[in-house]
Symmetry: C3
Subunit: 350 residues, 3 copies
Amino acid sequence: MTIKEIQSYLGQFFDSVELEGESDGLISAPAKIESAQKGEVSFVANEKYVKYLSTTEASLVIVHHSVAVDEFSHTTSFLKVSDPYTAFVFLLKKFVIPRVVAAKGIAPTAVIGEGVTLGEGVSVGACAVIGDRCSIGCNTVIGPHTVLLHDVSVGDDCTLFPSVTCYDGTIIGNRVVIHSGSVIGADGFGFAPQRDGSYVKIPQMGIVEIGDDVEIGANATIDRATMGSTVIGRGAKIDNLVQIAHNCRIGEDTVIAAQAGISGSVTLGRQCVIGGQAGFAGHLELADRIQVAAQAGISKSFLQPGIALRGYPAQPMRDQLKYEASLRHIGAMKAKLDHLEGEMIELAKK
Amino acid sequence: MTIKEIQSYLGQFFDSVELEGESDGLISAPAKIESAQKGEVSFVANEKYVKYLSTTEASLVIVHHSVAVDEFSHTTSFLKVSDPYTAFVFLLKKFVIPRVVAAKGIAPTAVIGEGVTLGEGVSVGACAVIGDRCSIGCNTVIGPHTVLLHDVSVGDDCTLFPSVTCYDGTIIGNRVVIHSGSVIGADGFGFAPQRDGSYVKIPQMGIVEIGDDVEIGANATIDRATMGSTVIGRGAKIDNLVQIAHNCRIGEDTVIAAQAGISGSVTLGRQCVIGGQAGFAGHLELADRIQVAAQAGISKSFLQPGIALRGYPAQPMRDQLKYEASLRHIGAMKAKLDHLEGEMIELAKK
Amino acid sequence: MTIKEIQSYLGQFFDSVELEGESDGLISAPAKIESAQKGEVSFVANEKYVKYLSTTEASLVIVHHSVAVDEFSHTTSFLKVSDPYTAFVFLLKKFVIPRVVAAKGIAPTAVIGEGVTLGEGVSVGACAVIGDRCSIGCNTVIGPHTVLLHDVSVGDDCTLFPSVTCYDGTIIGNRVVIHSGSVIGADGFGFAPQRDGSYVKIPQMGIVEIGDDVEIGANATIDRATMGSTVIGRGAKIDNLVQIAHNCRIGEDTVIAAQAGISGSVTLGRQCVIGGQAGFAGHLELADRIQVAAQAGISKSFLQPGIALRGYPAQPMRDQLKYEASLRHIGAMKAKLDHLEGEMIELAKK
């Protein structure tokens, strides 16, 4: 790809893509700004990295309109856009070597149940198992060893990587990506305690519904509802090893980092960002756009949109940081207290 | 099912099932009290939900004997029992659409080793692998893609969902349920440090033993013992993504919520309840019926039965809540201290 | 094995292996010191267990040179070495019943892609899937149901247990062990936020590289790099359910306990020890030989080798323990403060 071709490609996404430097150079790969070589393209989206502009050997760097590039190397060209990070992300797609999760068509070792509906262009990998009455949308890829129990519906243009398991009745939208080892629709953790201390299992009759454009990482678990549906909203992104319990509702475009755990019947708003290893008690609700710090423990509902939470039990960021700062002063407080006590004794003597 | 038939069915489990209202109505599905429709059955077991009794459209509601139902809608019938929650749980089972994890018999793509013993009525799903000398009890279901290495013993009436892995020598009781992706009997995490900073692996020669009526969630890991057995007691319930390390002993009817981690050689008593994301240091012991709060960090043994633990390092709930409350007063303490200091200066001046 | 044969076997690893007692006894199994029987061998490496020496029925016990054994039972022999624990570990290997993960050769149900290179003595288990252009080294065992996507390279003498997934391009060294359910090389969790609150996926073009002698537990996840490699250094040991995000670099011989989570672009030094459920913010660095306590939250870099860290946010062990001790005094501080206030009021009255 020439620099000119890249400029024209990015022009699809940005109103203005300004070129500074020569336009004929061939670009063969993307690279990080600190290690980019001749023939490579990189980007600077963060002030911290501007310093590399004077030393980089990249042939092309994507920067923000506001960067004054004329002071930098004459062997580097620049494309200026309003959002260099996203521009670079779009550009990366042009350099990706295509991954093949499963070849087009049905692998001879795949096992297809009765009454299955397959859209055009479907790929089903080696040893994949598609249960009775499942429906797979057009151009969807089912990886090797992925198992769909019966009555599962998967939309168009999805990728289920190898060894995903979807229990019976799971409903998956379009353009959904699920990474290896994730288990969708296993029974919720519901048991009724008996007088003798044992438990009776509560039948888990609901399902999991996953909206369009959701991505789910590796070895995550999303349990089916006791009744009704556990719902993952459109566009949500869920990282590796996340636990989402029965009857949760995760809002659209909400992001949940690795190893976070959401207890039963929790409702998260839209565009929330949940940090890694954060935990939620059951039956609570977060408003839209709430940010939860890593390792926080959320013990009650927070209904004010857009706030940030931190700590255990979690409270609004500002209160929590103030509280943590007070705690850090405890040594000084103790010293002052002992000093006062000494002075008091002196005074009392007089 | 008619209301009368439901009354008679529940009569198997309860001494007294009183009907208030008409008995011929047909019930076709269970539902939550707040959204139940005509023809549906629901329940109220918690005072918080009594308010819905006056507005519900359910045709039948199961309540406690003590609820005065004559003040509510004439279109709703009531069944009164001593434990409405458990009654509803038993009733749910009558409405469950049967899930088929694997059809009866051995799937043609399953791989069965030498010297395998299969009980009557066994189901082995597509591509399941049963190692040499394994034994599978009557009516047990081995899901598609589940792998048993050699010398594994599984009891009667178990369900191993798709893609479970049991390492060699694992012993599983009767009526055990293991959800997808769980790994039973992988090597304990044992390495002997060497002088040069590297590690030598300690052979993990033990096994895992799982008692009757245990249920294990999805993507959990239970490691084999170094020597002897890691033991999961009868009736224990273990949620998704739980880690149980080598040589642990989990007591009967103990419940462990998602993402909790139990280090090596920990012994938990009977009927304990362990919260989500709680963590345990190694080689410690909890007495029976101890409750551990979510995210707690247990750093030593607690041998008094029935107590509740919370915090990091965890201590008895009452001490910990008092301690946390004191911490919350630190701002007020600081203010008082500064005030006293000011007064002291005034006094000293005089 | 006779005691004499064991002495001679250990002589391969230790300069001095002293025998006290008779040398002809037959040893048939290893056992724990507290439960060992006649015909069994055990060890004592920790003072806590010395008390068992007077009551054990073991026929042979391995102890440190410094233990005075003549005061103990005449039916027990002793072998004295400089490191009884490691001696016992080496000895365990002589008693291990060989586990068979997959028989030599290629199982008939395995699926082998085009252009695959297989070394001598390779085992590929039932239903394993080896993608196009993969390369498997000599004597490596690929368990049943393990899936390698295309262009994966695995070295010599490795064991991949059942149902491991390696994404395309993964590079694995020699003598690597990966337990069941682990997912190597799934896409990093990278999404570019858009103005409308949705996200665009950042192509994850890098790979995972795993050094020689690494062991990875069950259901762990190690994500591929966005560009370049996520690197697991030689000899590192990674426990069950650990999350290692994109672009991390884990140092040689570093140990990471279960359920720890390492965020993107973290660099850990050599010979670090990371406790269970510990969490790391992204883009930070730890020096060599740093120890991190269980459940700690590391929020910044620590560049001094060999220190220990604890708490949230984590700080050096000594500071943190002092801080925690101060916090524990808060009740006493409050009492003293109230007392001083009372005295002050008395004084002011005078």
